[in-house]
C-alpha cells in the first residue's frame, strides 16, 4: 500500500531513498540473524547459563546434629526437626482475614506480620523460627502466596538443668556455644548436603532435579556421665546450697579406677531448653572453670610427700604446742593448742602447725615437684572449653613461708575437678589416671601416671579413714556400711583486703569404700551464710548422701563389719 502510494506521488525522486532504506533494513535483519545464530550455535553456553540461573538452583539440606548420651545411652541432647516459616514481602498478598488466621496460628500479633511482610522491601523475612512441623504445615495449607517454610533442627535437652553445665547449649543456628556442644561441635554437627532444584517464574520449587551431595549426619557423643548419679548429685547439692544459703556449689564424682567423670554438677544451674540469660554465671561449669585455694583438703598430699621421702611415718610424733608458730615474719595458727600429735592425728585435727613442721623439713624442690605431679597448676586436658589450670607458685620463688602455706592449702589454687583428680592417686594406690568426660573409643584403659608408691597411698588412706570418725572432723561424711576416707576443708576466702574474716568455702574430698576405693568425690560449697560453715558440717553431709546412693547404683558390697545377717550363697 505504502509502496504504490509512494510511487504514485513521486517515483523518480524517492527511488534512491527507498532502496537505501531497504538496504538498511536488510542489513539490520542480517545482523539479527547472525547474532541469533551466534548465540544458538557458537556461544550457546551463555544463554543456557543465564536460563539456569533463573530457574535452577541449589538448596542446602541441613544435616542432623548428633546426639549426646550418657554412659548408658540415656539421652542428654537430641535434635528434632522443626520448621521455620518465612515470607517473601515481594510476593506476599493476603486479605486481612488471612493475615488474622496466620497471626493466630503463629501466635504473634497481626501488626507484627504486616510490619515484616508489607512494610519490608527485602525479598526475605523470617516470621517465626523453630515451630512444630504440624503448625508449619497448617500455615502452608492456607495457600497464601509468598509464605514458605524451611526445615531446621531444634535442640532438646530432656534432662534440662541437671546436666546443662556439661552438655552446654547451641545457638539458634545450631552451633555449639558452651560445654560439650562447643568442644565437640565439629563432630556433632555433620556436613550439610545440597540438592539441585528447578523453580518456576515465581521462584516456587517445582521439581527436584538431582541430589548434589547427601547430608552427612553428625556423630553421637557418649559421655562418661552416669545420669542416675548425676541426678542424685544435682538434687543433693541443690538442697545443700539452698539450706545453707550459699552463693554457689560444685560437686565432682569420679570413677577411682579409670578417672571417668561420673557426675559433675554445679549450683546455680540453668535450663538450656528455656530462654535463659548467659550473664550472671549461671551457665558456667564452675567445677572446671573456677579455681579456689583448696585449704585443708590438700594436707594429705603434704603428708604423702613426707612419707614418700621417708621423713615421717604415720606414728611419727610432732609437738604442735603452743598452737602457733613463727615462720620468718609470718605466723601459722591452729584453732586450738593440740599439744603433741602423731601424723594421723595431725590430719584428724587438721593442724596447720603440725603440717608446717612436716613441710619445712622437706627439700623444697622435691616438695614442689610432688605437687606439680599431682596436677596442681596443670591442665586437665578434658578438652572442655574454659578449663582452668589453677596456680602453683614457681619453685624458685618457694620461700619457707610459701612452702608452709602450700602444705595446708593456701598460696595455690585448684578447680574442683583438679582436686578430685589429685585424690584419685590416694584412691588408686598411687597411680593417677587421666580424667575424661567423653568415653574413650573401645573403652580402652586411660593413661596412668605413678605419683607415689602404693604403700604411701595406702597409709594416707588409712589416716584419712580416721578423719571420718567421731574423733575426726568429718563424721557426717560417713556412709552406713562402708568405710570412708576423706578430708574436710574450711577455706577463708580472699577479698579486696586479703583474707576475709567470715567468708568461707566449705570443702570435702573423699573416697569409698576405703578398703578398695571405687568412687572419689569432691564437694565444694561457696559462702554458706546460714550459720554453719565448717566443711565437716556443710559439705560432708552432701558427700555422704550422694556416695551412699552412688555406691548402691554400681552395686558395691559393704566393706564394714555387717550388723545384719549374712548368707553365703551355695551352688
Amino acid at each position: 500500500m505504502i509502496i504504490t502510494h509512494a510511487r504514485t506521488v513521486d517515483e523518480v525522486e524517492f527511488a534512491a531513498r527507498w532502496r537505501f532504506l531497504l538496504l538498511l533494513l536488510m542489513g539490520a535483519m542480517l545482523m539479527l540473524v547472525m547474532r541469533a545464530a551466534y548465540l544458538q550455535v557458537i556461544d550457546n553456553q551463555f544463554l543456557q547459563k543465564q536460563g539456569d540461573l533463573r530457574h535452577v538452583g541449589v538448596m542446602p539440606v541441613p544435616a542432623h546434629r548428633g546426639r549426646v548420651v550418657d554412659r548408658n545411652g540415656e539421652l542428654l541432647a537430641i535434635s528434632s526437626p522443626v520448621k521455620s516459616v518465612w515470607g517473601n514481602p515481594k510476593e506476599f498478598e493476603a486479605s486481612p482475614h488471612e493475615i488474622a488466621a496466620l497471626a493466630n496460628m503463629l501466635g504473634m500479633p497481626a501488626g507484627e506480620i504486616k510490619k515484616r511482610l508489607i512494610d519490608e522491601h527485602r525479598g526475605f523475612s523470617y516470621l517465626k523460627r523453630r515451630i512444630s512441623p504440624e503448625i508449619a504445615d497448617q500455615v502452608l495449607a492456607l495457600g497464601i502466596p509468598g509464605i514458605y517454610a524451611d526445615r531446621e533442627y531444634r535442640r532438646y535437652y530432656p534432662v534440662g538443668e541437671v546436666t546443662s553445665h556439661i552438655v552446654g547449649f547451641t545457638n539458634i543456628d545450631d552451633q555449639g556455644q558452651e560445654g560439650i556442644e562447643l568442644a565437640y561441635n565439629d563432630m556433632l554437627k555433620g556436613v550439610s548436603g545440597a540438592r539441585r532444584i528447578m523453580r518456576d517464574g515465581k521462584h516456587r520449587v517445582i521439581e527436584d532435579v538431582a541430589s548434589v551431595s547427601l547430608p552427612v549426619p553428625g556423630k553421637d557423643i557418649s559421655l562418661t556421665i552416669d545420669q542416675r548419679m548425676q541426678y542424685l548429685a544435682y538434687r543433693e547439692l541443690k538442697k545443700a546450697v539452698i539450706s545453707h544459703r550459699a552463693k554457689s556449689g560444685s560437686l565432682v564424682l569420679l570413677d577411682a579406677k579409670n578417672g571417668d567423670v561420673l557426675a559433675m554438677v554445679n549450683q546455680p544451674s540453668f535450663n538450656p531448653n528455656a530462654n535463659f540469660s548467659a550473664n550472671g554465671g549461671f551457665t558456667r561449669n564452675r567445677a572446671i572453670t573456677d579455681v579456689f585455694e583448696p585449704g585443708s583438703t590438700i594436707k594429705p598430699f603434704g603428708v604423702a610427700c613426707a612419707m614418700e621421702l621417708g621423713q615421717i611415718r604415720p606414728e611419727t610424733v610432732i609437738d604442735t604446742s603452743p598452737g602457733q608458730m613463727h615462720v620468718g615474719p609470718n605466723m601459722v595458727k591452729d584453732v586450738h593448742n593440740y599439744g603433741v600429735l602423731d601424723v594421723s592425728r595431725i590430719l584428724q585435727k587438721s593442724s596447720n602447725v603440725g603440717m608446717t613442721k612436716i613441710a619445712l623439713n622437706l627439700p623444697s624442690r622435691k616438695f614442689w615437684a610432688f605437687y606439680n605431679n599431682l596436677g596442681f597448676g596443670q591442665a586437665l586436658d578434658t578438652g572442655f572449653p574454659g578449663e582452668a589450670h589453677g596456680h602453683l607458685p614457681d619453685y624458685q620463688s618457694l620461700r619457707s613461708f610459701t612452702q608452709a602455706t602450700l602444705s595446708f592449702g593456701y598460696g595455690l589454687s585448684s578447680s574442683t575437678l583438679q582436686l578430685a583428680r589429685a585424690y584419685l592417686t590416694l584412691a588408686n594406690d598411687g597411680v593417677m589416671p587421666m580424667v575424661g568426660l567423653v568415653r574413650r573409643e573401645g573403652d580402652k584403659a586411660p593413661e596412668m601416671h605413678r605419683i607415689m608408691s602404693a604403700a604411701t597411698a595406702n597409709s594416707v588412706r588409712t589416716i584419712l579413714e580416721s578423719v571420718v570418725s567421731r574423733e575426726g572432723t568429718a563424721l557426717k561424711a560417713s556412709v552406713p556400711g562402708f568405710r570412708v576416707a576423706g578430708k574436710t576443708g574450711t577455706v577463708k576466702k580472699t577479698g579486696a583486703r586479703g583474707y576475709e574474716e567470715s567468708v568461707y568455702m566449705s570443702l570435702f574430698a573423699g573416697m569409698a569404700p576405703a578398703s578398695d576405693p571405687r568412687l572419689v568425690m569432691v564437694v565444694m560449697i561457696d559462702e554458706p551464710t546460714a550459720g554453719e560453715y565448717y566443711g565437716g558440717a556443710v559439705a560432708a553431709p552432701v558427700f555422704s548422701s550422694v556416695m551412699e546412693g552412688a555406691l548402691r547404683m554400681i552395686n558395691v558390697a559393704p566393706d564394714q563389719a555387717m550388723p545384719g545377717p549374712v548368707v553365703t550363697a551355695s551352688k
Binding site: 542432623h64 526437626p81 534432662v159 527436584d208 555387717m562 553365703t568 550363697a569
Partner: protein
C-alpha cells in the same frame, strides 16, 4: 545416501534413548525423594518417641511415683541381708 539415512536413524534412536534415560532418572530421583521424606518422617517420630520415653522415665518422676503411688522406700541397713558369693 543410505548410510546417511542409517546415521539419521541411529541419531534419532539415541536421542530418544537420552530422553527416556533422563525421564527415568527423574522418576527415580522423585522416588528417592519420596522415600527420603518417609525416612525423615520416621526419624522425626523416633526422635519424638525418644523424647517422650525420656520424659516418662525421668528419675525424679520415677522416684516420686515409687514413693507416693507404690509406697516404696529404701530399705534400712538392718533390713538388708547380704548374700556372699
Amino acid at each position: 545416501m543410505k548410510f546417511m539415512v542409517f546415521l539419521l536413524a541411529i541419531i534419532l534412536a539415541s536421542a530418544m534413548a537420552v530422553v527416556h534415560a533422563k525421564y527415568r532418572s527423574r522418576m527415580l530421583f522423585a522416588e528417592v525423594q519420596r522415600i527420603e521424606q518417609e525416612l525423615e518422617a520416621y526419624e522425626v517420630e523416633w526422635g519424638l518417641l525418644q523424647l517422650e520415653q525420656n520424659t516418662w522415665a525421668e528419675h525424679s518422676r520415677i522416684e516420686g511415683l515409687a514413693r507416693s503411688k507404690l509406697g516404696m522406700a529404701l530399705p534400712s541397713r538392718n533390713a538388708i541381708t547380704y548374700v556372699k558369693p
